[in-house]
Amino acid sequence: MTPSQITDPKISFQNVSRRFGAGDSSFLALDRLSLDIADGEFVTVVGPSGCGKSTAMNIAAGLTDVSDGRVLVDGKSVDGPGPERGVIFQQYALFPWLTVRQNVEFGLRIKGMPAAERRRVSDHFINLVGLSDFADALPKTLSGGMKQRCAIARAYAVNPSILLMDEPFGALDALTRVNMQDQLLDTWTRERRTVIFITHDVDEAVYLANRVIVMAARPGRLHDIIPVDLPYPRTEEIRLSQKFADIRNRVWHAVYHQKPQIEPSIQEEEH
């Protein structure tokens, strides 16, 4: 549970705080978050709404500034977005005027990759997420699950070593969701990345993760880290096993039976 167990972390949150607004109406969205994530690790983040999950992820993505502390990626302090960190948004965020292929090639184009090579890379990733038949379709013709798969292919295509995913499957129905989880793990085992995956779904958190990060709200902070000692590839058998159920219960309790913070007033005054 102690972050110091990890040597050479891929991502390292060091006392990261974020305050929104100024003066009396300011709001501490994230309070001194410290967390190390190892290279190639898959961590999921759960916690009540408003506990700062998205804020933490956006800070790591370089889309939001910190108020205090810092985030290191490969030992270097984060300063703006970078191609080594791919982000997958809950709202898909596909460019609606581009086809699936053009979306996937967007980042490659910016890199200045020649057309033939771009084509090869996009073919590979479109195939990986099973959208080959829709390569030339516009996003408006895709279902929610297909859109999200396209977004995943787009993020993978620029070859990031880190994937940051903010409730990527939140808008999907239960069945599609389970499918997408399996596909994501499948993709992850074949193309190993470090993944931070935010979710509201305790099952999903346990099924995917090496470790589940549980956060607490007001102020947003780290609450608990629960290791998931289950082998990959994760299968239906594992999903239905007793061990899975035990871990799931532990995470559930950590999320839904959080003790109120003992000295919230003192916490607030420190800042």
Partner: protein
């Protein structure tokens, strides 16, 4: 209690709804002409009937007069309109993208929007003389003002997550602008272009009524002096048809350029 009438009404409207819209359009058109003919034939109003107007229309077409008038009106409209749009789009982008530019330019836009472009004509004539310049200027102003607002509204309403998605894929501002901002705001801009063309067309006719030696508006103004009602009608109908055609053209372009949009 009312199942019977409702049922029969549904049956009737369904059979009508089965007709192709073009047929319904023609029926409505024929009906309108018939009413017009009936009213004028019965001398209920002192207006020319469809037959008189049709004859005058043929005369004006044969003599080439109508074509000359249409061309000179269209030339004014297109010159002013294209200049207006060409300036409105970059200015709109500037206002949407840079807060400072918006704060500096917006008061002027809002102020001039409140002045009907035609009210500028006297000033334009005094300062620019009586040839083409004042008319083109007024049309330019009309289309610029309606298009610039639409453009900058489009830029400021571009979805933040699309910009963020581009940034995390490595895009800097100079890529985000052409690749994200421009396509994402195209639907808004095209609405502005359409409104701009409409107001340009309205303005040219009115401007020609006030000060011109040619054009559909000028023809009507002349006809008014000689109490030539059929010519006025021919001009009015031409103005309507041309306006409609231009609107349809822009609409078609709009649909082509924004076919990626999800329509409900």
């Amino acid at each position: 209690m009312n199942t019977m009438p409702a049922g029969s009404q549904r049956a009737r409207s369904k059979s009508l709804a089965d007709w192709p819209p073009i047929i319904l359009n023609l029926v409505a058109f024929a009906f309108g002409v018939a009413v017009w003919w009936a009213i004028t034939a019965a001398k209920l109003v002192v207006l020319p009937g469809p037959v008189d107007v049709f004859q005058r229309g043929i005369e004006l077409i044969m003599s080439g007069q109508l074509l000359i008038d249409i061309l000179s009106s269209l030339r004014r409209v297109l010159t002013g309109f294209l200049l207006g749009v060409a300036l409105a789009i970059p200015v709109g982008f500037l206002m949407g993208w840079y807060r400072v530019a918006r704060a500096l330019i917006e008061p002027y836009i809002q102020f001039f929007r409140m002045i009907p472009p035609l009210a500028v004509i006297p000033l334009a004539i005094v300062t620019m003389g009586i040839d083409e310049a004042p008319k083109v200027f007024v049309i330019f102003l009309a289309s610029f003002l309606s298009c610039v607002v639409a453009t900058y509204q489009g830029v400021i309403s571009v979805d933040r997550t699309l910009i963020n998605a581009a940034r995390v894929l490595g895009a800097k501002d100079r890529v985000i602008f052409p690749r994200i901002i421009i396509p994402a705001s195209t639907p808004f801009i095209l609405v502005g272009v359409r409104i701009g063309l409409g107001s340009a067309w309205a303005t040219v006719v009115a401007a020609e009524l006030i000060a011109a030696q040619s054009g559909l508006g000028f023809r009507m103004q002349q006809a008014q002096l000689y109490y030539d009602l059929p010519t006025i009608f021919v001009s009015l109908i031409s103005i309507g048809i041309l306006g409609l055609l231009m609107d349809r053209l822009v609409q078609a372009a709009e649909r082509r350029l924004t076919q990626w949009q999800e329509r409900v």
